[in-house]
Symmetry: C2
Subunit: 286 residues, 2 copies
DNA sequence: CCTGGTGATACCCGGCCGGTATCGTCCCAG
DNA sequence: CTGGGACGATACCGGCCGGGTATCACCAGG
């Protein structure tokens, strides 16, 4: 068997992401020629052309796209291996729980309270993450578990259990006419003039097109709502961050959102198992 | 970030599995001193002692056990990366389906027939595997999908769907008194003198203790049953391999067995999606 | 006390990894 | 049409590291 080294995978990943040898080399802190050679050697050893060096710069071949996916997974696994090994000798058996900032605040409180009463409980360090960062932290071993929403994060490759399913509400400026209603539909809030939905950044950092304001974090969003410039749809439990200038109205036809607790496959630690058990139990009684 | 190379992980894995530097070096096709140095360097870079070099040979530390798990996962990912990339350029988009030999024969037939009629179908290569080999093939990228039984294989790290749940039957020599019954319980077949349950090899190649005969494949088992020396409990659908000298009697209290179809996370190919859809559909209508 | 077995150390060599300099090619400006 | 700039590939070189052999250090057992 011919083995791929993580160095080669790091190099290829950098080039595949930058689609530019010079910039990739800079990102890797090295010169461009050795990078070119390393990628050529990788292609030779695999017997597969990974990149089209065309006139218009560099492009991924289909095989290259496959390797990019696989290389990312492999590098995550390698990073996780190093981190988890180092953590294994640290005292105290702390658990790191990754949670999206401002999401499911009540659930998190309840989970931490209930877990603290478990016999197998370990100290829990909660890490509040930005969009998509919770999933990354779990994938590369910085976190031992995460509360994820399958809409935003992929559960692929993790073990997971459902914890809580909840309806969504629309958050409106408190004075808005619709804020007086006891329930609304998606169609009603979609058609309101002057309240275009806010736009969140995509994975690549760009924004989808549309009339609404671009927001990057919740405090921006909250202020824009309070100013009467936009509205947003959130899970009911996220009401924790509402201002007095906000009104939340239940949506009768919005898809419900489910929070899962996810952890790396093959994890066998007792404190983690207890955390999962606690979370699932919370979901059942709620 | 300090990165682990797959070479180092291969070396450590070999030593951790052999618990002997000399044998590990031999298995790796290298001399012992460079292997010792490589593992020392790995320990130094991680800042973690992985092995106890005691007077009574080598033993894993707890951190070493963690790394062994993680290293295996990483090496599987790296092997899968190479294989899937190479396969991406092969023509025809063949799918490799790993199945435990002799398991769920009817289901497999039905699946292949139904899949061949799907619009997105690709050519399917069926690989019959020994115990646990199906899971390995899926983990290291030799297979694109597998029919797995969670009792024998871990689904951790895969995406999977339930396909079929079935009861189990006990297979007895045709002339045996109990073979005339229309149903039996586990207790009844456990207590039969002269028919001790056969013993299958464990992961490490050894056998669990017990009075029954040691078997390594189904033909051995079948012959031993036909000779009236043992009996076995199997899913009902495995009746395909029964001899005329065998009798199958339903067990009323054996745990039912569920077959899952599993595939690597993040797989997005249309032929694979069609295969999964076909399999799940089969399970529903059955 | 010697001997066999095992892992660590000492020392050496070749290859590869990464650096600098330069080339070939394409695109575009003028 | 031509010169220049951008970009990846090639040529060449030096140092480090991975791997080899020889040997040491330590322990168990006769």
């Amino acid at each position: 068997m011919e083995w791929l080294e993580t160095r080669e995978l790091r190099y290829f990943t950098a080039v595949a992401e930058e689609l530019h040898f010079g910039r990739a080399a800079e990102r890797l802190g090295m010169a461009q020629p050795p990078l070119s050679r390393a990628v050529q050697r990788l292609e030779r050893r695999l017997g597969v052309v990974l990149l089209d060096r065309g006139r218009h710069g560099v492009a991924l071949t289909p095989a290259g796209a496959v390797l990019l996916d696989e290389a990312r997974a492999t590098l995550d696994a390698a990073a996780a291996a190093a981190r988890r090994t180092r953590r294994a000798v640290e005292p105290g058996g702390r658990l790191v729980l990754a949670v999206k900032a401002n999401g499911a605040h009540d659930l998190l409180r309840a989970l931490l309270d209930a877990y603290a009463r478990e016999p197998d409980a370990a100290e829990v360090e909660v890490v509040l993450c930005g969009i998509g960062e919770d999933e990354r932290m779990l994938r590369d071993g910085r976190a031992d578990a995460a509360l994820l929403h399958p809409l935003y994060s992929s559960l692929a490759g993790f073990d997971s259990e459902e914890v809580l399913t909840e309806e969504q509400v629309v958050v409106l400026p408190a004075g808005h006419p619709l804020a007086a209603r006891t329930s609304l539909t998606l169609a009603e809030v979609a058609d309101v003039p002057g309240l275009p939905a806010a736009r969140w950044p995509l994975r690549d950092g760009g924004y989808p097109p549309g009339p609404g304001p671009e927001v990057r974090d919740l405090s921006q969003l909250a202020q824009l709502i309070a100013l009467g410039r936009t509205s947003t749809v959130i899970p009911a439990s996220a009401r924790a961050w509402l201002w007095t200038a906000h009104s939340a109205v239940p949506l009768v036809d919005a898809p419900s959102v489910t929070t899962h607790i996810a952890w790396p496959p093959q994890s066998r630690s007792r404190p983690l198992a207890a955390l999962v058990r606690t979370a699932v139990g919370l979901g059942r009684e709620a």
